[in-house]
Symmetry: C2
Subunit: 259 residues, 2 copies
């Protein structure tokens, strides 16, 4: 079973690339973030035409997440329960595997703007709510995978120029502490587990030729529950879509689960 995550930065604009990518990479579940389209504008037909199903949570202009899958997802959950939020940042569904149900979550964690901003406070509250919810989910679903754009680079290895990023969002101590709390729930960073030394950047700023200079961050992650990690044989970043014509600033991360 293959899972993947991709912040597409507008599904309307990126749909041809997503279709193309899925045909080249027929993963079982693709988690999307930043759909940037209202609930009723989701391009379900185009995805069904290539043999995929989908569940999604959209809103106009901002955010929006989806799960694109070969089989139908059940127990679909939009947003974090008990965390009232007009922003659509989470969708979860359960998929069948040979080893029983797998809970898959697509998450678009807040960006946080700047460490002294209201949006940073929201980011921290959001992570607290996520952690609280995940501790619950892990009770119900031992096989749990949460993939998405975390907007956190967990360590300096995940940052092209740690000096430059000091004191900025994505790397601040509070954000890294929030990340650690997720890990402490019994979740594992699949890419870092497989590649202890590879930076594995997943995002490059559109500006100043960041991709060309490989001036990136690793902020898109696949977190796996301990029982799932035992089945994880590979995790990789597919840099190629970042070199497309009209690219997203993020690129996909793929996890191979042998089950």
């Amino acid at each position: 079973m293959k899972l993947a995550t991709w912040n597409v930065n507008s599904l309307r604009v990126r749909l041809p690339q997503v279709i193309d990518w899925l045909q080249q990479n027929p993963v079982d579940v693709l988690c999307l973030q930043e759909l940037k389209l209202p609930q009723d504008k989701f391009p379900l037909d185009a995805l069904q035409a290539i043999g995929y199903q989908a569940v999604w949570a959209g809103q106009p202009t901002y955010n929006g997440v989806a799960l694109i899958s070969k089989t139908e997802g059940t127990q679909v959950q939009r947003n974090i329960p008990h965390f009232e939020d007009p922003q659509q940042r989470v969708i979860a569904a359960t998929y069948d595997s040979a080893k029983g149900p797998i809970r898959v979550i697509s998450a678009y964690c807040p960006n946080g703007q700047a460490p002294d901003s209201d949006k940073y406070i929201y980011k921290m509250q959001w992570f607290a709510a996520l952690e609280n919810w995940l501790s619950d989910e892990l009770q119900h679903y031992p096989h749990l995978a949460i993939l998405g754009d975390y907007n956190v680079a967990p360590t300096d290895l995940d940052v092209h120029d740690p000096k430059k990023w000091e004191g900025k969002i994505h790397v601040s101590p509070a954000e890294r502490a929030a990340w650690q709390k997720l890990i402490d729930l019994g979740l594992h960073d699949a890419f870092r587990h497989i590649h202890p030394e590879d930076p594995g950047f997943t995002w490059w700023d559109y500006r100043r030729g960041a991709f060309r200079r490989n001036a990136g961050l690793r902020i898109d992650h696949a977190l796996l529950s301990t029982p799932l990690l035992t089945h994880c044989s590979d995790c990789l970043v597919d840099k190629s879509p970042r070199a497309n014509e009209q690219p997203s600033d993020h690129t996909p991360v793929i996890v191979q689960l042998d089950l």
Copy 2:
């Protein structure tokens, strides 16, 4: 010698189509309208790369005209003399031919919005200034051609559905009278001269599949001075660019001058 006119509705967007069209149709002078780019953003390099020169008058967002030519134009005139106007709607230059100099003008006449609007008044004033200037120009340049988007359909033959257009801009009596005053200067409608019966639409609204239904207007014209008309052996509308992927709403008009 071949002259042509094309309202491109953003040269930035249409540049590849213009390059392509010039390579298929290596006219001597191409008059462009609605560049929609500031003076310093004109894509001179791309045109030079295919062997063309250019003079232009740009402004941000709106209007803007150019003369793209194989040989250098001289006595370049931007705007109508003695008619102060921040809107860039006219550029003129002189080109050499076997029979002596030819004055070529690219004109983007005002749209006029609606017959009861301020913009309509401006349109009428603009035409008066144009007429005044052209009577002068004709004294200096017996071989004069003024090509462009006139935003006037001279007769009902130039309108797909004259009933529907009654009382609207492009066809109002005052606009047609302004057109007639240009004709009365000793200018001749090249297309209508060659094709007395062919509607020869040059513009189709982007909306409601107007091009598919051929619901167009003939509002782009080549006017020739009497001495030039004697050399005019053909005039045609090239509808093909209107069928392009991201088309302008206008399509080129080409004049063949045997000199």
